[in-house]
């Protein structure tokens, strides 16, 4: 990892470092050579770390006041909102924090898609990232169940019933997940237990994610391999830390805007009605960050087919590094792929929109078109465009286009060269 050996200056430091090289790790993280052309889209890793810590800290505090019981959960959340000192603030940070977490993770994922960060040699980073994303969805879903409002209850019912689509064993699995014959107190209890566990699993995966990142080093907007350390790199501290800190500050302003001015705008008012197993709300929708997948689920007129397609929409991302056949990483040099990238962004946003609308008429048509394009993008567009596309010339290094004021043909290398 480190290109140079680190020796602590003090005798005590050396004594400790010989036994547990924590100081070497610290030195590695400080000096870590980072491409000097990283733009603000690269600051979301730091922002996401902040989100995870925020959720863990506020969550631990909320768990001190929350009661995981079907008869008491709703009242205990209201108790947090009204009685607990600053309880309203902590809960609003936690509930809006989940949304901010997903906002950041979606930007992070699409950044990776645009600049080809998922490609060799960074496939393992990508896959660990997707595992984090899956765990985030599980944690967010179970967290949404805990207030035991109408949306909690019926959201839990619909999502757990997805498993009943599995042939033969579906019903047994659903009953096993519930610990009852419907979503009930045992379900709430176990969801609370797992909701508390998952963030720490995520934390462990984040360590692996960063470890895997530090082996090849960061990708960069130009998408080329660079020598480390060299003229093309800067030490992580202070150059990247200060840039990350500035981006984080802007992010926190938006976060605070939600918490203090519109804390419920991303939630659903029906969740302020206590859970009632006899009445389903007229229009149930998941949280906004799950809407594209919900739209895919509803676009299929068959129960098992819808469930399979919805899960496929996530799992297809795991094989993305092998579906993309282009040798060029960054979409900056890929004129055709770049357009399809933006179509995909619009497609996912549209799926999110129709996921929030009733599944009928024009919305159903849009959902179907959106679903078909989503899969075509990964299964057809990515392999085919990678083969056929004539990419733009790639610079020799990060410094050269900067120092000469543009990518000059004489400095550019051919696509066929090893990138």
């Amino acid at each position: 990892m480190s290109e140079h050996e680190y020796t602590p200056k003090s005798k005590a430091g050396k004594w400790f470092n010989d036994r547990l090289p924590l100081l070497s790790l610290g030195a590695h993280l400080t000096d870590y050579p980072t491409p000097k052309n990283l733009n603000y889209w690269w600051t979301f890793g730091g922002i996401l770390t902040f989100c995870l810590i925020t959720q863990i800290v506020t969550g631990i505090v909320l768990a001190m006041h929350y009661v995981a019981h079907a008869d008491l959960a709703f009242a205990s959340v209201e108790h947090i909102m009204r009685d607990v000192n600053y309880g309203w603030l902590i809960r609003y940070i936690h509930s809006n924090g989940a949304s901010m977490f997903f906002l950041a993770v979606y930007i992070h994922i699409f950044r990776s898609l645009f600049y080809g960060s998922y490609k060799s040699p960074r496939e393992v980073i990508w896959i660990i990232g997707l595992m984090i994303y899956l765990l985030m969805m599980a944690a967010a879903f179970m967290g949404y169940v805990l207030p035991w409002g109408q949306m909690s209850f019926w959201g839990a019912t619909v999502i757990t019933n997805l498993f009943s689509a599995i042939p033969l064993v579906g019903d047994s699995i659903t009953t096993w997940l519930w610990g009852a014959y419907s979503v009930d107190n045992p379900t709430l209890n176990r969801f609370f237990s797992l909701h508390y566990l998952i963030p720490f699993l995520i934390l462990g995966l984040v360590v692996l994610h960063i470890w895997a990142l530090h082996v090849p080093g960061n990708n960069n907007p130009v998408g080329i391999d660079i020598k480390k350390p060299s003229k093309d790199t800067v030490p992580f501290h202070p150059y990247i830390t200060i840039k990350d800190a500035f981006a984080l500050l802007v992010f926190m302003i938006i976060f605070a805007g939600f918490v203090f001015f519109t804390p419920n705008v991303l939630g659903h008012s029906d969740n302020y009605i206590p859970a009632n197993p006899l009445v389903t709300p007229a229009h149930i929708v998941p949280e906004w960050y799950l809407l594209p997948f919900y739209a895919i689920l509803r676009s299929v007129p068959d129960k098992l087919g819808g469930v399979i397609l919805m899960f496929s929409a996530i799992f297809i991302l795991f094989v993305l590094p092998w579906l993309d056949t282009s040798k060029v990483r960054s979409a900056v040099f890929r004129p055709i792929y770049r357009q399809f990238f933006w179509i995909l962004v619009i497609d996912v946003l549209m799926l999110g929109y129709v996921g929030a609308m009733p599944a009928e008429g024009i919305y159903l048509v849009l959902a179907r078109v959106g679903t078909i394009y989503y899969f075509l993008h990964f299964i057809v567009v990515m392999p085919v465009v990678g083969y056929l596309e004539k990419t733009d010339p790639i610079p020799m290094s990060i410094s050269e286009p900067v120092l000469t004021g543009g990518a000059e043909p004489s400095l550019a290398r051919k696509v066929d060269d090893k990138v």
Binding site: P277, P281, I284
Partner: protein, 173 residues
């Protein structure tokens, strides 16, 4: 040479035997961890519910809770029964005669789980295109016999195990 081969085989046997015993042991420890999540004794104890049906007028229905799930008890009018029985079996995604969904001689009583077979929402009564139930979550239409007619739900609404204790009481479960 043959002696050495024998030695290797013996070691292989020990390895395989150890792995097998180990796997059985791990399985024996894991199973209780998995099975503890299945419905416990307290949940199973709620398995029957008795309902007084003497106050239900023809054409009306009530909803009761059984094992955490709603059960619809509908007293159907002769017209509704006739309508349910006139349906062509070819029009049904999950073909089932109305006679198979009620107790013989008690044709007016439809007792079924009020749970959409798609993803478990509670359908609304007297709604939808077939004069029966309509699920607001994902748009499944059920007829007056609770059979799926249109939408993503794969099967008819389930008929639970039930019996008439006397003329005024139904025991579900």
């Amino acid at each position: 040479m043959s002696k050495e081969e024998k030695k290797v085989n013996r070691r292989d046997f020990l390895f395989t035997a150890s792995y097998t015993v180990g796997a059985v042991g791990v399985g024996a420890v894991i199973w209780p961890m998995i099975d503890q999540m299945n419905p416990d004794k307290a949940q199973q104890a709620l398995a029957t519910t008795e309902v007084d049906i003497s106050n239900i007028e023809p054409g009306k229905s009530i909803t009761v809770l059984w094992r955490g799930k709603p059960v619809f008890l509908k007293r159907r009018t002769p017209d509704e029964i006739a309508e349910a029985r006139a349906v062509n079996m070819d029009d049904l995604p999950d073909p089932q005669k109305d006679e198979e969904r009620v107790k013989e001689g008690k044709d007016e009583w439809l007792v079924m789980l009020g749970v959409c077979t798609h993803l478990g929402c509670v359908p609304l009564k007297d709604k939808g295109d077939f004069n029966g139930w309509f699920c607001p979550c994902h748009g499944s239409h059920y007829d007056v016999s609770g059979r799926i007619r249109k939408g993503p739900a794969p099967t008819n609404m389930e008929i639970p195990k039930f019996e008439f204790v006397d003329n005024n009481t139904i025991k579900i479960g």
